[in-house]
């Protein structure tokens, strides 16, 4: 279970998250929606252990472990995975090499031997088939020259391969065409089970039509201002954030 308690985060002395509480149980899917700049990616980055952020108050725990002292790779080995809003290009490093290194890093942590090259290829190919990705993506440099949608699909490929227990998807739907969205959503739904927690960050109800969340949160200016079930997304889609922001200000 992920437990975020009264979390406050600033960057370069500017407060971004101003007291966040969030609990995600195994098997649950939560969605966070909110205006641009409200702090959604900041939350995702802080959970993943990105260094530039200062945690000024509050705590983060996953599976009973305090995340704060852990490096990003240690958190990854705990089962945390972030699908990046802006996946990073790594020139000269093939996708195949990255996937294999990531999988072997995980296996090493679990005390397993490196995966056999042939077994690896068959596993990757199976996942790629699911995502309708062509074999050629394996041999291209990581995200280099990929279109926006291709990058997102590549993130989900890594997710399917690494089988994390806590999946944070930061605007994975942005940039995907209609068919791609369906394919990617199908992949994510396949990952859904009673042990896995999923946090979806999105701007659009459409994604939530495919992946039905248990809880929808609204983040605005570093605070959670509303919470509801799947229906909340439809309300937001119809009315926008403004009525919620007004209401919160009136409280």
């Amino acid at each position: 279970m992920l437990i975020i308690n009264k979390l406050q985060v600033s960057i370069q002395n500017k407060a971004i998250l101003k007291g966040i509480d969030l609990k995600i149980k195994p098997g649950e899917v939560h969605a966070i929606m909110g205006p641009n700049g409200s702090g959604k990616s900041t939350l995702a980055n802080v959970l993943s252990g990105r260094e530039e952020y200062d945690i000024t108050a509050g705590t983060l725990h996953y599976q009973g472990v305090d995340l704060a002292p852990l490096t990003p790779d240690e958190r990854a080995h705990l089962g945390l995975f972030l699908s990046f809003q802006y996946p990073v290009e790594i020139p000269g490093v093939s996708n195949l090499y990255l996937l294999k290194s990531a999988l072997n890093a995980k296996r090493k942590h679990q005390g397993l031997d490196e995966i056999d090259a042939i077994d690896f290829l068959s596993v990757v190919r199976e996942k790629m088939k699911l995502l309708q990705m062509d074999d050629s993506y394996l041999y291209r440099d990581v995200n280099t020259g990929f279109s926006g949608g291709e990058k997102k699909r590549n993130e989900i490929l890594q997710l399917l391969l690494l089988e994390p227990s806590l999946c944070i998807l930061d605007e994975t739907d942005s940039g995907l065409d209609i068919d791609a969205l369906r394919i990617v959503a199908k992949g994510i739904n396949l990952m859904r089970n009673e042990n896995r927690s999923i946090l979806l960050i999105t701007h659009y109800q459409r994604l939530l039509d495919y992946i039905k969340p248990d809880v929808v949160h609204v983040l605005s200016d570093g605070k959670m201002i509303a919470e509801g079930d799947y229906q909340l997304a439809a309300v937001l889609e119809a009315e926008g954030y403004e009525p919620f922001i007004q209401k919160k200000a009136g409280d």
Partner: protein, 481 residues
């Protein structure tokens, strides 16, 4: 051509015969350099008259020169009279077993995946058993012999193939070339000699690794490789394992000659001791490497991965004399801590339709300084000459420096000369991305750096490339985070 008798086999046997361990007692000239030192070296090596005459001329020339200081390097002056110029191998002084070797060194060997026997050899362990590790070489010896390929030590070539040596020695790097080349010519102790007869394609990578007496060739090494018409050879120098040597100054010379339609591929991995984190100790590596595409349609390619030495001064060059000849230079120079590298290449276009490619990747970390210095020279008669140069620098941290000095001298207005350059920093975004995928910082840095160098690494022979990849990662350990 003389009898192709002095092959790998005879070499190996000789060393066994002589015991290698017992007989070659230390036999060292006192420090200092004068004409008598040169005479003594030549006499100890039982050289023919032409060699002594050439060495003496080189010595006289050297006396008139002063050490060059145009490179972007800083170091304490070298006292040439304090150096000992001849010391026969004294293996008895080496460690008796790996137990006596610095554990740090062994750790590095293990990380590089170097087999135990080779570790012993590299660490200078004085045991007969070490030779067994090189016995793979004996399976190749007959093949080379049958093809008429000569691959032996320079000393043996002087004894057994004096006509070839006399014809080609100094024909690419004359002793007048520069201060260090003159010094090397006067006092060089040994090195490698390769001759590939016309039309022969050398069936394996030739490597000093397979030539045991490469050990202790010392600070002044000389290599001469000749590819006769239509011949092909790929030569590997050095190895990825860190090599220690008590000699601080290394001034080697490498000469390559490619005749019509011949091709020479020369790959180096240089990993001499770089000094400690504070810049104490380490090898000064002043090397003159040059190839001459003497015949038409000939090709010379240099690939170097330079990670060692406190100071590197090195410009592998190609003289493109033959029409339609091709020169290539692929370089990775990595400097960390207080290392300094001033390296690059010279491409001299003389023949018509000559083509050169330069790809240089410099990586600096810590307090290191990394300089690319290149010259592309096109003579008036070199119609259709074409050069492409690409220099990329990668900086890690804020205390290191990268410098690029690309000189172009063209006397032919129709020559095509293209130059691209970039400087970048290793990005936090990339490191975070890889860390998020569970990859630790050391491996992430190694991955990014290897990606940065991919164009160069892919020109290395397969087995060399695998080791070189690991080496780049190891050399940067602790440079981030």
């Amino acid at each position: 051509m003389t009898k192709p008798n002095q092959t790998l086999e005879t070499l190996l046997q000789q060393n066994y015969e002589h015991g290698f361990v017992t007989d070659i007692e230390s036999d060292t000239l006192p420090p200092g350099l004068n004409a008598d030192t040169v005479r003594a070296i030549s006499a100890k090596k039982n050289e023919p008259e032409f060699m002594l005459a050439w060495r003496l001329k080189a010595y006289e020339h050297w006396c008139q020169l002063t050490e060059p200081h145009w490179a972007h390097l800083k170091y304490t002056p070298i006292d040439y009279q304090a150096i000992c110029y001849y010391s026969a191998p004294k293996l008895k002084d080496g460690p008796k077993s790996l137990d006596e070797v610095d554990p740090k060194l062994i750790e590095t060997y293990n990380k590089l995946g170097i087999p135990l026997k080779e570790q012993e050899w590299l660490a200078g362990v004085a045991v007969d058993a070490v030779f067994d590790s090189i016995s793979v070489a004996t399976t190749f010896k007959d093949k080379l012999n049958d093809m008429g390929i000569i691959f032996c030590s320079f000393s043996d070539a002087v004894q057994n193939h004096p006509d070839l040596v006399q014809q080609y020695l100094g024909s690419v790097v004359p002793y007048t070339d520069n201060f260090f080349a003159a010094l090397n010519a006067a006092v060089f102790s040994d090195g490698s000699f390769v001759y590939i007869p016309p039309g022969v394609r050398c069936p394996m990578e030739l490597s000093t690794y397979f030539r045991i007496n490469a050990k202790s060739t010392g600070q002044f090494e000389r290599t001469l490789i000749i590819a006769d018409k239509g011949a092909y050879v790929s030569y590997l120098e050095g190895c990825t394992a860190p090599q220690r040597d008590e000699n601080q100054l290394h001034a080697a010379v490498v000469e390559l000659v490619a005749l019509d339609n011949a091709q020479i591929k020369y790959s180096t991995v240089q990993n001499w001791y770089p000094g400690d984190e504070n810049g104490v100790g380490g090898i000064y590596n002043f090397v003159t490497k040059r190839g001459e595409c003497r015949g038409e349609h000939s090709k010379i390619s240099w690939t170097q991965v330079e990670t060692g030495s406190a100071i590197t001064w090195k410009y592998p060059s190609v003289i493109l004399k033959g029409d339609y000849s091709v020169g290539e230079f692929y370089s990775v120079a990595l400097t960390n801590h207080h290392q300094q590298a001033d390296t690059g290449t010279k491409m001299v276009h003389i023949g018509k339709h000559t083509k050169s490619t330069i790809v240089s990747k410099g990586i600096s970390a810590g307090f290191a300084q990394n300089t690319y210095r290149g010259l592309v020279k096109v003579l008036a008669q070199a119609d259709g000459a074409h050069n492409y140069t690409r220099c990329d620098s990668l900086l890690m941290g804020t205390h290191c420096g990268a410098h690029t000095f690309p000189y172009i001298e063209s006397k032919n207005s129709r020559a095509r000369i293209e130059h691209e350059a970039s400087t970048s920093k290793i990005s936090e975004d990339q490191l975070f991305y890889l860390a998020q995928r569970g990859i630790d910082t050391e491996n992430a840095v190694s991955m990014i750096v290897n990606g940065f160098c991919k164009e160069v690494m892919k020109t290395l022979p397969m087995e060399f490339a695998v080791e070189a990849r690991k080496l780049l990662g190891l050399s940067l350990e602790g440079s981030i985070g």
